[in-house]
């Protein structure tokens, strides 16, 4: 147990350093970007007749630093602001704090991507096991081919295809918007039903485009476990097929857990294609519009959040592995 805590503290310290490194990188990236958006913004404000002090204050609250102080002062100021969770203010949504925007977009992405991710993971794992156990039969071959095919289709083509098929050709699902605007948001049945109806296609698009990858990875993993001695030994000890399958699945799923945890981390980047196509106001949608509007503070904030999420996911994956695989515990 002591080893666990030492490990955790070490990983957290490493994570903090990573976050600082990435924020510094973001800072310099914005600072050296051609056209210098900070100076441009300041100039625009000055030209529009804003008093210099007020303009400076406005730019500071937007980017976290002011252009004509020395670079290192700007840098430390910026880092200091980040440590206080102050990510500045958005440009496209004038005056709205970036953190507020991120927190508002997050639930949409979490609902859509997390659901899609787990559906694709579960279906993919099951399909991978079936494809591997029956790999000499038509069903196994079929599943492998389907997985490869779906894995190969770009996400946006799949999303557009689904949207076309189910909102235009067959009008089964509504297109665009996260819920029917005519219904007042709240905990009413009508609103939740509308929410669910609007979420089906984005979630389906995410799940279908993801499941092939999981199935192929699981198939490979199961195939390697099937060749392990203890599986044959279990069979020759007369273990029931159900228990044997559990031995196989448990051992084969191990390497996939790391990928799953990392995917949960990358979830905080949202799904740019799917959210944009379905007008789903999640993080991906927001990043896309921030890119289009050159909303640098918002972009910085979003990237910082992705960094944070991936680093945390990495730490979680690491710790989870020590729980799932007893061989790692004693390191």
């Amino acid at each position: 147990m002591k080893g666990f805590w030492i490990r955790l503290v070490r990983r957290l310290a490493g994570g903090l350093i990573m976050v600082l490194a990435v924020s510094s990188f973001t800072f310099f990236l914005v600072h050296f970007m051609p056209g210098n958006p900070v100076q441009t913004k300041l100039n625009t404000l000055l030209e529009s007749g804003t008093p210099p002090l007020q303009a400076e204050a406005q730019v500071r609250s937007m980017y976290g630093f002011v252009p004509h102080t020395p670079l290192y002062v700007q840098y430390f100021h910026y880092i200091w602001q980040i440590l206080h969770l102050n990510l500045g203010q958005s440009i496209s949504y004038a005056g709205v704090p970036v953190l507020h925007l991120l927190l508002k977009a997050m639930p949409w992405t979490v609902i859509m991507v997390l659901t899609g991710l787990f559906i694709s993971f579960i279906i993919g794992i099951a399909a991978g096991v079936v494809a591997s156990v029956n790999r000499n039969s038509r069903m196994g071959d079929g599943l492998t081919m389907l997985s490869t095919f779906l894995h190969g289709i770009p996400q946006f083509i799949l999303a557009l295809g689904l949207a076309y098929l189910f909102t235009t050709v067959f009008r089964v699902f509504p297109f665009g918007a996260p819920y029917n605007a005519a219904i007042t948001p709240g905990w009413s049945a009508a609103f939740l039903a509308s929410l669910a109806r609007h979420a089906v296609l984005p979630i389906a698009a995410y799940a279908i485009s993801g499941f092939g990858g999981w199935a192929l990875a699981m198939r490979a993993s199961v195939s390697s476990v099937l060749g392990d001695d203890y599986i044959l030994a279990a069979e020759l000890r007369g273990v029931t097929p159900a228990i044997r399958l559990r031995y196989i699945a448990r051992n084969a799923i191990l390497p996939l857990f790391t990928i799953l945890t990392l995917s949960v981390g990358f979830m905080f980047g949202g799904s740019i294609f799917i959210e944009t196509i379905f007008d789903y106001p999640g993080l991906g949608y927001m990043i896309n519009s921030a890119l289009a509007a050159r909303d640098y503070p918002l972009m910085d904030g979003a990237f910082l959040m992705i960094t944070l999420a991936v680093i945390i996911a990495n730490i979680v994956a690491d710790l989870l592995y020590t729980v799932l695989d007893p061989r790692i515990q004693r390191i």
Partner: protein, 339 residues
């Protein structure tokens, strides 16, 4: 061949035969053609005896072990013969649940490297419980209590080893636990596939002693697969010498060791290093172990490595013939050896 065999069983009528292998042929299909890993193998396993099957790698001894459990999988295929157990009929005809119920409760197996024969993600006690659940025990914990007693008998701390994961134990401990996993189901036949190969010499002798004492105590019928004539000499009552998938010699261990009839057996015995005297006295067998693709289709399979090779050996494959009661050998050579 069959005439010789009937005299064998006549001679050994006194003891009961638990398992008899008849004309067993197992073929491996490869791109280069089909090759027999076992060819017309006949074998009787007597009750309460330790029968050893000895051979080099490639002799077909592991294939024989797998066949005993009807576990030959593609590219291997049983192309002929039967393996009958006195109470359960032909093993090779069993399918599905009947086959599963054979594996464990009737034939208990100890695998070559037990560290690889256990699920690395599951505590050993839990794996024993899985065995109980698989074989219809109402209360699988009975097996756990039995395992505790056995562990104590094998001088291990029962609580520690049964709550441990396989990687937390030494090779010798895992091998002993492998034996326990076979014994908790009270098999009639204990099948040991090279149980000491992965162990150092001291652990090896400890494991052999355990096998012997359990065998006696439980009045088991034991089939021991090995490549080590030293192991055979130490524990086996009867020995069967396998070469290139064929039985070369069989008989009581003492008789075979004292008067080996086959040049191959003789070479195997000479290859044992002695504790006393010069190491040079141990002589390795010339040539390389049999390779399935190189086995001659005609004549004696051992002739290329044999120092008594005659013209007859090239054309006619020798059949088993009796030297003395229950001691058979498959060799054309009849003269006295010069050494």
């Amino acid at each position: 061949m069959s005439a010789d065999l009937s005299t064998t069983s006549e001679a050994m009528k006194s003891s009961h035969i638990v398992c008899s292998v008849r004309n067993l042929t197992v073929t491996y299909q490869t791109d280069a053609g089909d090759f027999p890993a076992l060819h017309n193998v006949n074998l009787d396993i007597q009750q309460n005896q330790i029968t050893a099957v000895i051979g080099e790698s490639g002799s077909g001894k592991s294939t024989l072990a797998l066949a005993m459990l009807n576990g030959i999988a593609l590219p291997g295929r049983v192309t002929g013969g039967t393996i009958s157990l006195s109470q359960h009929g032909d093993v090779l005809a069993l399918r599905g649940k009947a086959l599963r119920r054979l594996r464990g409760p009737v034939v208990g197996t100890v695998f070559q490297a037990s560290q690889n024969a256990m699920n690395p993600l599951r505590r050993i006690g839990k794996q024993i419980l899985d065995l109980g659940r698989s074989h219809g025990y109402k209360d699988p914990r009975i097996l756990l209590r039995e395992a505790q007693l056995l562990a104590k008998k094998m001088s291990m701390d029962p609580d520690r080893v049964l709550t441990a994961y396989p990687h937390q134990l030494s090779g010798g401990m895992r091998q002993r636990l492998g034996i326990i996993m076979a014994l908790v189901l009270h098999p009639e036949i204990l099948l040991l596939d090279e149980p000491t190969t992965a162990l150092d010499l001291l652990t090896q002798s400890a494991v052999l002693q355990i096998i012997q004492s359990i065998h006696r105590e439980r009045q088991l019928t034991t089939l021991l697969i090995t490549h080590d004539m030293g192991v055979v000499a130490e524990v086996a009552d009867t020995v069967v010498v396998l070469y290139a998938g064929r039985v070369m010699e069989e008989g009581r261990t003492a008789a075979v060791l004292r008067h080996p009839g086959h040049p191959y057996t003789r070479a195997l015995i000479k290859a044992i290093p002695r504790l006393t005297g010069s190491l040079d006295q141990a002589r390795p067998l010339e040539g390389s172990p049999p390779d399935l693709t190189m086995i001659p289709r005609q004549g004696c399979v051992f002739r290329q490595r044999c120092r008594y090779r005659m013209a007859l050996c090239d054309n006619e494959s020798p059949s088993l013939k009796q030297l003395e009661d229950g001691h058979l050998t498959a060799c054309h050579w009849e003269g006295q050896s010069d050494d």
